[in-house]
Symmetry: C2
Subunit: 133 residues, 2 copies
């Protein structure tokens, strides 16, 4: 059993990582962080640094509790959604954790295509979390 989360260096991605780690600790499930590494557009160096820092902190905490974890670098040329779903199936994951953007009071936000795809196509449950502010 495992908890699967994407390597997504944004505020929402960080919230998802944090929650995924909490769930891994609670269940003593392995945490798998999937880096589909497409870089390019939307890349934000500051967020990437924050994500890395959070990841290091989490890895230390999981080590401290004897909970297995790994970062998988995938270069399969897939959409991130496909990678997450495929790994979740291979590992019979407890669930996939994804981050969602918060809707603004006036904004009519629709779900991003990756999020929607994971929600609809993953056979395991999907835990959707928001950033805390």
């Amino acid at each position: 059993m495992a908890i699967v989360v994407g390597y997504v260096p944004t505020k929402e991605g960080r919230a998802a990582l944090r929650r995924a780690a909490e769930e891994a600790l609670l269940r003593k499930s392995k945490l798998i962080v999937i880096n589909s590494n497409r870089g390019g557009r939307d890349y934000d160096g500051d967020e990437a640094q924050r994500f890395e820092a959070e990841l290091s902190r989490i890895q230390g905490e999981l080590d401290g509790h004897g909970v297995e974890h790994e970062v998988r670098q995938l270069v399969r040329g897939n959409e991130p959604a496909e990678d997450l779903i495929a790994v979740a199936e291979e590992e019979q994951a407890d669930f996939i954790v994804i981050g969602l953007r918060r809707r603004t009071p006036v904004g009519k936000l629709i779900l991003g295509s990756n999020a929607q795809r994971i929600l609809l196509d993953a056979s395991c449950p999907v835990l959707a979390v928001k950033a805390s502010s």
Copy 2:
């Protein structure tokens, strides 16, 4: 802390209820089942009976483990999504559990409006589960 789930007498609703109960047991969180009770369209007596049977079984199991639970009958005239979100906020829920329909191999399914609303508007995490077959 609590796990919040809708009273939704469908195959997906039953899967959500089951998973919500598992999570409540794991965390020793209270399980709150929200019945917005709009009846009418889509009402399926067989599914309602199955849901009731599952709920009774689950209530027994939660009692056996000393985990608190309740069914709240809400007649606020709200959409079910609003009721779930409101209760989740009042109770500072761990998360809301919702059921999603499985996409058919050919079908281009989009998320139902209630599901989409809960995913976008709930401030707590949302766990989306599918029926097992």
